[in-house]
């Protein structure tokens, strides 16, 4: 249930829904997304989906994990598989509609003068994310529908007694669920691509390469799904190909990391809260990414399969990557969204507490997994005691770190000082309108005459233009 809740109801919608719906129209200079009513509809769908899943959670949960592997989920599990799958199915429609809305908005609603290579990189990364929403989510939808049909009507597409193949289910499931990882991390990369040039006061290094890398990640993400199935009994030749393709993912990821660090080089860096999160993202994502290359290697994957090594790896990408990016974006655009400033001191403290808590929680898990501690067991041999206690203690620190922003964000909405239209003194269309923006985003529709991140013209930045 932890996985289902966190993946489908937090990580996937977090940045696209919270920041994307707000920022995409502003960043392309439009009055709204192309289909505002569809956007509201997808919000309703998301809530209905959440109700189904929470209902299942309250009534005893589901014991299949978020992967719903057959035939356990279709035949043997006595838990609320249908309600949960229905929740995810409906949430999927919400994702699809959001992705569709973003793609149409970016194609058709751009302000005069705003060519593709003048778009902020956040827009590029959400465009790539939307492609995955559109191409991947329907496959998960049909897979869950077939699972439900098999469970309810005994229409057994995956039923081994009819010659059905459980491996087919796994292929279909991971065809969505591996790209879903990029749904979670690409938007965070977009946020970092905005924050790094803003707080280094420098034009981003390798703009086009970062833009292309986003699209490359979306495309490559669809070609690597079977690396989740190396020990599931598929052909060794297929596994070799998927292993090689998986390593290719490191290329666009590294392109981004190198370009961000090159942007920092000789920049005029200010240590504001969003920048702390962005730097945390770069470090933690690099750790997660490099261990990902280790896991793509067939031999190592078989050795550490289903151990804490995997847990640590994907939490470095999901929590260290996606959530750090989400919090960074929230801190960066909070003054724009609410028109209020949050306390500088506490926000920087919380960023550091989260960074420390995260590493204390998940780094020991790399060691535990490498030593052979399997996932999904509550018991472990006594020699693993120290590292397990360390991990639990880190989780407590991490929890405190997450509570601090909750408190000061709520506090700032009532007591925070008013934010000017451009509190960070940075460039970008969203900083040219008031904080918070008017209903139609701009008093006068903007005309774009230059690319993003033009920090080489300081006099214009100082004017807030």
């Amino acid at each position: 249930m932890h996985g289902i809740m966190m993946i489908f109801f937090f990580l996937i919608p977090s940045i696209p829904a919270v920041l994307g719906n707000f920022l995409i129209p502003i960043m392309v200079g439009a009055r709204d997304l192309a289909f505002p009513r569809l956007n509201l509809f997808s919000w309703y769908l998301f809530n209905i989906a959440g109700l189904f899943t929470i209902w299942a959670l309250v009534h005893g949960g589901v014991d299949t994990g978020w992967t719903f592997y057959t035939p356990y989920s279709t035949r043997y599990s006595n838990t609320h598989v249908i309600a949960t799958a229905l929740g995810i199915f409906i949430a999927g429609f919400s994702s699809i509609l959001t992705g569709l809305n973003f793609v149409v908005t970016i194609h058709r609603m751009r302000a005069p003068g705003l060519g593709w290579f003048r778009l902020p990189l956040f827009v590029w990364s959400l465009y790539a994310t939307s492609l995955i929403f559109i191409l991947g989510t329907p496959v998960l939808a049909i897979t869950l529908l077939l699972l439900a049909a098999e469970r309810v009507f005994r229409i057994g597409i995956f039923d081994p007694s009819l010659g059905g193949d459980p491996l087919l289910f796994q292929h279909l499931f991971w065809f969505y669920s591996h790209p879903a990882v990029y749904i979670m991390v690409l938007p965070a990369m977009g946020v970092v691509s905005e924050i790094v040039p803003a707080f280094a006061r420098k034009k981003i290094f390798g703009y086009r390469f970062i833009a292309y890398a986003s699209v490359a990640l979306a495309v490559l993400g669809f070609l690597v799904w079977a690396h989740h199935m190396f020990v599931a009994g598929m052909s060794i030749y297929a596994a070799t190909v998927f292993s090689a393709l998986s390593m290719l993912v490191a290329v666009p990821s590294a392109v981004k990391v190198f370009n961000w660090t090159a942007t920092l080089y000789q920049g005029s860096i200010s240590w504001d809260t969003p920048m702390l999160y962005a730097l945390g993202f770069i470090g933690l994502f690099t750790m997660g990414g490099l261990t990902g290359v280790m896991l793509a290697t067939l031999g190592i994957d078989v050795h550490v399969h289903d151990t804490y090594f995997i847990i640590a790896h994907f939490h470095y990408i999901m929590v260290g990557g996606a959530i750090m990016g989400y919090l960074g974006g929230l801190h960066y655009w909070w003054p724009k969204i609410t028109g209020k400033l949050y306390p500088r001191f506490w926000s920087r403290i919380s960023a550091m507490v989260i960074f420390i808590g995260f590493n204390v929680t998940f780094f020991p898990q790399f060691i535990l997994g490498y030593l052979g501690m399997p996932r999904r067991y509550h018991a472990y041999p006594p020699e693993f005691q120290v590292l397990n206690v360390m991990s639990s203690a880190g989780a407590t620190i991490l929890g405190v770190g997450y509570l601090i922003p909750l408190i000061y964000f709520i506090w700032s909405m009532r007591y925070g000082r008013h934010a000017s239209s451009n509190p960070w003194g940075v460039v970008g269309l969203e900083w040219e309108t008031t904080s918070p923006p008017p209903t139609e985003n701009f008093e006068t529709p903007p005309v774009v005459t230059r690319g993003p991140y033009e920090y080489s013209r300081p006099e214009e930045v100082a004017d807030g233009r």
């Binding site: 439009a30 009055r31 709204d32 997304l33 192309a34 289909f35 505002p36 569809l38 699809i96 569709l100 809305n101 793609v103 149409v104 194609h107 058709r108 609603m109 559109i134 191409l135 991947g136 989510t137 329907p138 496959v139 939808a141 049909i142 897979t143 529908l145 077939l146 049909a149 009507f153 005994r154 229409i155 057994g156 597409i157 039923d159 007694s161 009819l162 010659g163 059905g164 193949d165 087919l168 279909l172 139609e440």
Partner: protein, 216 residues
């Protein structure tokens, strides 16, 4: 003219053209998601057809090719009337629009009626998967897999037809009220795209389920 344009363009668009282009791009993107949605089922079909060719050929012979062919002809005809309806909407001709939409709906309904008759027949013959499944021949479990796929694929297609009929009914009412004309006809166009898509799915389903391997 300008006053008309303002009346049909939503507040966040600059022009009727921008609104129409956004609507049609949105519909095409939606159809891409539909292709991926059906794609999962087609993949399952291809995998199992490759694994159990003889059982699938034997099971395929249980389907009624006359009814299947009739249905194919009905759907193709409905695509023609749909295209004529879109043309009528673009020109703002109210009566032809209503007539062609009604014809499209009638053809679609007859298709669904025939499909229901086929389903009924399969239930009576014990060809619906599950405890009551009876199939005389070797590899009965694999033939049952064929019927699992048959009901899943045609059932999902029929569901799309029912939704399409609902959409067309709305278009019929709006069209009868004279809501469409040269400046504003995106809803009819999008409904048309959807209807053609559902037809095309059937164009793939018909040979895969009724024809391939029939004479093997």
């Amino acid at each position: 003219m300008a006053a008309d344009a303002r009346a049909v363009v939503a507040h966040h668009f600059d022009s009727p053209d921008q609104q129409r282009e956004a609507a049609s791009l949105g519909m095409w993107v939606f159809l891409v998601t539909e292709v991926m949605f059906f794609g999962g089922l087609f993949l399952a079909y291809v995998v199992y057809r490759g694994s159990f060719p003889h059982a699938f050929a034997a099971a395929s012979r249980e389907l009624d090719i006359v009814l299947g062919t009739t249905n194919t002809a009905l759907l193709l005809a409905s695509s023609l009337t749909m295209a004529l309806a879109v043309r009528a909407a673009q020109l703002g001709r109210r009566l032809p629009l209503v007539v062609f939409l009604a014809l499209t709906m009638a053809l679609g309904s007859v298709f669904l009626g025939i499909k229901m008759y086929e389903y009924h027949h399969k239930f009576v013959e014990g060809l619906f998967p599950g405890a009551a499944f009876r199939f005389s021949g070797p590899e009965a479990p694999h033939a049952e897999m064929f019927f699992c796929l048959y009901f899943a694929m045609t059932g999902l297609h029929a569901l799309h037809m029912v939704i399409g009929l609902g959409v067309l009914a709305v278009m019929l009412v709006l069209g009868a009220r004279g809501r469409f004309g040269p400046l504003y006809h995106n809803p009819v166009e999008c409904a048309g795209l959807y209807w053609h898509f559902v037809d095309i799915v059937w164009i793939f389903l018909f040979p895969l389920l009724y024809l391939v391997g029939r004479h093997a």
